[in-house]
């Protein structure tokens, strides 16, 4: 039983953060949830409409197409970002002389804002690569990748990997350097090959880093918006719209605020579900030291 004194002490420390948390997160979330049951038009709502916004959302074929596309994007970007990031982390924690320069070098793309990044890469895909391709006859690059659904998907993946693997690299570096040297030395004396050391010693001992990095990439995959808008703009033919952009378009371009908001709630449930599953699985793989 918490005594009155304990409650008082709790409030003394937590009241301000709790109030801020409620104001910027709990209240808007509850209000948004409430609005999905009304006929909200972006400005005001006048009556309750039950679950009709949700039914309409699920009847929208473009919503299903977006969900499929987003899932594919999340899976592919999750794998590639983490493979590349882990690879980079291994390189920059090895005994290379240029490792500090390389760390900075790999991290820098993360400091560029998503929209600017999208615009730069749009230029690269539309103009820079195509004109080089025409000069040297690279048929794969002669047409802008952004004009084709499948290639535009890979363009999105390339830019995402380029942007976020540097950040995840930092997480993996932290994991790698937290492994005690004596364990590594012991394995060396026992004659373990570098590959065996990596698989049996390093990876299990830094499983925590994987939990964090996987969670972060999963979340950012589902929430990706700025690169999507600036790079492909959902094109060609609105086939590369990720879920965030789809919701934004539905609400703010077509003026369907009710369905847009209910799709956002559906997205929240999906992201929360996927994240919980991923964290509980990864936690089980972590070892206690």
């Amino acid at each position: 039983m918490p005594s009155a004194r304990a409650t008082k002490r709790f409030l003394k420390f937590a009241l301000v953060p709790l109030a801020i948390f409620s104001m910027v997160l709990v209240v808007p979330f509850a209000n948004g949830f409430y609005l999905t049951f009304t006929n909200w038009d972006g400005f005001e709502s006048s009556k309750f409409v039950g679950f009709s916004n949700y039914t309409k959302s699920f009847q929208d074929p473009t919503f299903w197409a977006t969900l499929r596309f987003t899932t594919l994007f999340v899976v592919v970007s999750l794998i590639l970002v983490n493979v590349v990031a882990f690879g980079l982390a291994l390189i920059v924690t090895s005994k290379l002389r240029s490792r500090n320069v390389l760390r900075t070098f790999f991290f820098v793309p993360n400091l560029i804002g998503g929209v600017i990044l999208g615009v730069i890469w749009q230029f690269i895909f539309n103009s820079a690569i195509t004109s080089l391709a025409k000069k040297y006859g690279w048929t794969l690059f002669e047409q802008s990748w952004l004009n084709d659904t499948n290639k535009a998907f890979w363009a999105l993946i390339i830019v995402t990997v380029w942007q976020s693997s540097g950040y995840m690299m930092i997480v993996y570096i932290t994991g790698l350097i937290s492994i005690e040297n004596d364990v590594l030395e012991a394995s060396q004396i026992d004659g373990a090959s570098p590959l065996r050391t990596l698989l049996s010693i390093k990876i299990p001992l830094m499983a925590q880093a994987f939990t964090i990095a996987l969670f972060l990439t999963l979340r950012s995959g589902f929430m990706a918006y700025d690169v999507n808008v600036a790079l492909t703009g959902g094109g060609p033919f609105r086939t590369t719209e990720l879920i965030s952009m789809h919701i934004f378009q539905d609400a703010f371009a077509n003026g369907n605020f009710g369905t847009g908001q209910s799709k956002a709630v559906i997205m929240f449930l999906m992201v929360a579900g996927a994240a919980l599953l991923q964290v509980s699985v990864s936690k089980r793989l972590e070892v206690q030291r």
């Binding site: 038009d41 972006g42 400005f43 929209v115 749009q122 230029f123 539309n126 103009s127 047409q143 802008s144 952004l146 004009n147 808008v229 600036a230 492909t232 703009g233 959902g234 094109g235 060609p236 033919f237 609105r238 934004f248 378009q249 703010f252 371009a253 077509n254 003026g255 369907n256 605020f257």
Partner: protein, 444 residues
């Protein structure tokens, strides 16, 4: 109701040709206790944002009562994306400016019927912002779109734009250009050009009367219009194919396309471009000393077919003044600024003088303009207007989001040969089906 375009055209003609000495009293010379801040969302268009900001600066120093502040907003976002958060935050801009979203805004803005500005504009040019008898906005300018041409290139190839009266003539002109080693046309795949302007060529020619054209929208909304059997649709589609065939540029579906198309026409490698007169400032900046004209896009093979000799002229947007969240003083300031901009000598300089002189190069729609547009394209538009050769902007009545749905998906798919013409007709019919008939006064 041919009257609709006629009245608009007549008023526009008089505004262009007759110069009436307007009583241009400087905006409220009275001294005020303190300055009121008045906000406006956007700068009308991004193309002339510097010139508009200069006008705002001039206005703020010209009087002591109001300070106008522009909120740039995000040009990548739609009007609704920009304005709804501001209303939700109880921080609505006093002046907003839009076209398609007028029905969404109608119950939130002032009735401007009895203002000095509204009385200076013809009913035809006010019509699109008249919702159930309430004048919710006043126009900024008139714009036209059609086939833009590089006069130097056409002159060198011996092509007289006035002699192109049918689709066959147009194809011959394209062939002549190609024979001279030029590229015939830059037909841009940018979504808003296809979704709003190119589709409007069909809608504006779909019937001879205003009422008839709205009836086409009715039947599309009711879901009983079959486009494939419509002869105007067939002509429009044949024109689409023709432009695709002679398109000298590669299809580019991203935002970089707009700038590229302007560069192409200005470079002198291309004869034609399907765009509007809002590109003229950019064209003139890119190729100083070259004249760029505008002409009709003939879709029929018969020279006398309705609309074949005309260009779509309309109001690209209306200014609205918030009635829900702004104070009386803010509303008065908003009206004062707009009145200053369009009726004072200083304001008119910014409105109608060409960009080379620091103005926005707008075609005046308010009577009593002392500054007249001087550019080649503006004069050409004036000639079309004076001759009554104008088409309506049916795209004004498109439901919010439709031009995006159609332009970004089906039109771009047909442009890049991903779907058949029958698919295109079906996609457009589906996009319209069940849409709110705002053109009949139904609320959005």
């Amino acid at each position: 109701m041919k009257k609709f375009t006629k009245i608009g055209a007549l008023a526009l003609a008089s505004a262009l040709t007759v110069s009436v000495v307007a009583a241009t009293s400087p905006a409220s010379a009275a001294t005020c206790a303190k300055r009121t801040n008045v906000t406006m969302l956007g700068t009308i268009k991004t193309e002339i944002k510097d010139q508009f900001q200069a006008a705002v600066k001039k206005y703020n120093t010209s009087q002591k009562c109001y300070t106008l502040k522009t909120i740039i907003g995000d040009s990548k976002l739609t009007f609704l994306q920009n304005i709804t958060p501001m209303y939700a935050a109880k921080n609505a801009p006093t002046i907003s400016y839009t076209l398609q979203e007028i029905p969404n805004m109608a119950d939130k803005v002032l009735d401007l019927k009895n203002t000095k500005l509204a009385k200076l504009v013809s009913p035809g040019l006010l019509a699109a912002a008249n919702v159930g008898g309430k004048q919710v906005g006043v126009p900024s300018t008139a714009e036209a779109f059609g086939l833009l041409y590089n006069k130097k290139v056409l002159d060198a190839a011996g092509i007289n734009p006035a002699s192109i009266k049918t689709r066959t003539d147009l194809e011959n002109a394209f062939k002549t250009l190609q024979a001279k080693g030029k590229k015939a046309v830059h037909f841009s795949a940018i979504w808003w050009s296809l979704g709003a302007h190119f589709t409007n060529i069909y809608h504006a020619s779909s019937a001879k009367t205003h009422e008839g054209r709205l009836a086409v929208l009715d039947s599309l909304s009711d879901g009983n219009k079959n486009l494939t059997t419509d002869p105007v649709w067939k002509n429009w589609l044949a024109t689409f194919d023709l432009l695709k065939k002679y398109n000298g540029s590669e299809a580019n579906l991203t935002d970089t396309e707009y700038d590229a198309s302007i560069t192409d026409l200005a470079s002198g490698d291309y004869g034609f471009l399907f765009q509007g007169n809002w590109t003229e400032p950019n064209l003139m900046t890119a190729a100083a000393g070259t004249d760029f004209g505008i002409m009709n896009l003939p879709i029929s093979t018969s020279a006398t077919a309705y609309g074949n000799d005309s260009i779509p002229v309309g109001v690209p947007g209306y200014f609205m003044i918030d009635a829900k969240q702004s104070t009386k003083a803010e509303q008065a300031g908003a009206l004062d600024f707009l009145t200053w901009l369009y009726t004072s000598a200083a304001g008119q300089h910014f409105v109608a003088d060409p960009v080379t002189k620091g103005g926005m190069g707008f075609i005046p729609v308010y009577s009593g303009f002392k500054v007249q547009p001087a550019t080649f394209m503006a004069r050409e538009i004036a000639k079309y207007v004076a001759a009554g050769k104008t088409l309506e902007w049916i795209n004004t009545y498109y439901p919010a989001g439709l031009q995006e749905t159609v332009g970004k998906v089906s039109m771009q798919q047909y442009f890049t040969d991903k779907i058949s013409s029958a698919d295109l007709a079906k996609a457009i019919q589906d996009a319209w089906k069940g849409s709110t008939k705002t053109w009949r006064g139904e609320s959005a």
